[in-house]
Subunit: 337 residues, 2 copies
């Protein structure tokens, strides 16, 4: 597309070079009838049900990491935000902000990975936009992805439905994504086989809703990790949470990396895990449905919702003590997603 | 929100500082029942009609310019992309990528301007996301905005409907936005009173569709200007275009600035103008409806669609000559929107 093999300012100018980039790269991989309307906006088929919208900016560094890259991540993250509202995905849009000088081969790898993730999830990318910024005003590529989904009637998921006595379920190990990213940051210099758990959870969620349509809450513990997610929900719902450390699955390499770096797996980002809160009587059936899905094999009941006006998240440790699981006031891991 | 008055990495960490930024700034100005669901995804009311999706990244430099700023621009640009598909807007989402060190006062000014533009248009911002990148990896703030609209049944707008013999209409002067941006670029050093035409065109479009539901094409000539827009359409539709230079309105200050800088107003970006292509018999009624709207007062018929296998856009100049209006192979004005 250019002689240099790199993104140039001209790719963002609205002229022929941009048209060539769109045809030769984005349309080539992301091709579908909507995107081929070749218009700024995509017109979809009428949908019945409640529309659900979500958006997410992706600035992950490094762009490529064990188990994924920014392209797949930007698809999975957005599909998961829809799924956490109980919605099935209908369409995605993507906005690229490219830095002058970025390798077109790397861009192609990212777009291909995005296309593979979207195809695997069965969701088309129907509209996109590309801007180019000068060298030193970006970091290779940033991607903002937006998802449109449809929530079935009768499903009502949110902190307003969280009540004392309910069970807290977790779909698998925590900290994998954050540790995979950290292992690639040059200044940290630790080696591990840990892969990001980046994955699209909408099929797992569909299976869960089929078993228990009255599920109270779903969340994917991304930035800030499980600790931030549970504290946000506790705060919004005006309840406390009582966790059992021994029930929370952590991969042994993640545990080792965290010990080395002085980090707590509860604070580390995930990209393919979910927390569910449900009536205690539904917990076993839900756990079974989760474990039947490849993305929920290690699902566990990790605790209960309790009455607490202070909205604290507390944990019984492996050694029988109790500690407060706080969310971080400061920043632990920037550019993680 | 912080002692320093600047964006810090901690604002993107997923912890308390980010929650404070969201509550204290974004929710404060953009407040609405959907956004207050305080979830990653917003659940909307069921909509009848065809959903329309569009997304746009905004990297305009400078962030503040005569007649607007990146906040209002990011709302107008997205609403206009929906309007160009004949869709009425339902909801917006916004993704902010903030650079460490960016002034929180400037961010507040931008969010307030965005909120004002959304309120004036009658469209809520229902979901958002904020990421922070290190100093030198951004340029203050980038905003990706996505719009969901609904296209009424029966309206079918696109290059496939463009035919020889149809009339080409333009809603007003061209080049105002690009010249307003240029006047603020420090290295150019020209002064002018030109203001950006940044505006939301969905009400103008609704009035036009009410008069002529069979309108064939609508486009807003942004990046690459009127020249790029008409060339794209000619190319997609396999037709030629014959323009009359004398009929194309250009503000005298824009004409003067273009002469000074050696630019062609046909290549300069607009943010509050539209091109319409319609059956010749509908042109007068449409022009009247456009001129009745504050954003279409200076609407003109600027030419006709003609048969041309080469898909050229040609123009009869003020002096009676003819020239080809090409789109630019290279870049003229980067970071314009």
């Amino acid at each position: 597309m250019t002689k240099t093999g790199h993104v140039e300012m001209v790719h963002g100018g609205g002229g022929r070079a941009m048209a060539d980039l769109i045809d030769g790269l984005f349309l080539r991989y992301l091709k579908n009838p909507c995107l081929e309307q070749a218009h700024d906006a995509a017109v979809l088929r009428p949908q019945s049900g409640r529309p659900v919208l979500t958006t997410d900016g992706h600035v992950v560094s490094p762009l490529f990491f064990p188990g994924g890259d920014i392209g797949a991540l930007s698809v999975h993250g957005t599909l998961n935000d829809l799924a956490m509202a109980g919605a099935m995905p209908v369409a995605l849009t993507v906005s690229f902000i490219l830095e002058e000088g970025f390798s077109l081969a790397d861009l192609e790898r990212i777009v291909r990975s995005m296309a593979d993730a979207a195809r695997a999830a069965g969701v088309p990318v129907v509209a996109g936009d590309t801007k180019v910024v000068e060298r030193g005003k970006g970091d290779g590529v940033y991607i903002s992805t937006t998802g449109l989904g449809i929530a079935p009637e009768g499903v009502d998921i949110g902190p307003h439905r969280v009540q004392p006595g309910q069970a807290i379920l977790l779909s698998g190990t925590i900290g994998d994504h954050g540790c995979a990213i950290l292992s690639k940051r040059e200044n940290l210099g630790f080696e591990t086989e840990i892969c990001s758990d980046s994955a699209a959870l909408h099929r797992l969620v569909a299976a869960m809703i089929a078993i228990s349509p009255s599920i109270a809450l779903l969340r994917d513990p991304t930035r800030g990790g499980l600790a931030a997610t549970l504290n946000e929900v506790a705060h919004a719902a005006g309840v406390g949470m009582a966790l059992e450390e021994a029930a929370i699955p952590v991969h042994q390499d993640v545990a080792a990396a965290c010990e080395l770096l002085g980090l707590d797996p509860l604070h580390i980002a995930n990209e393919g895990k979910l927390v569910a809160i449900c009536d205690a009587g539904d917990a076993d059936a839900l756990l079974k449905a989760m474990r039947d899905d490849p993305l929920g094999r290690q699902a566990m009941r990790i605790g209960s919702v309790v009455e607490d006006d202070a909205a604290l998240v507390e944990m019984t440790t492996r050694f029988g003590g109790r500690r407060i699981v706080d969310w971080l006031a400061g920043e632990q891991l920037p550019r993680i997603c």
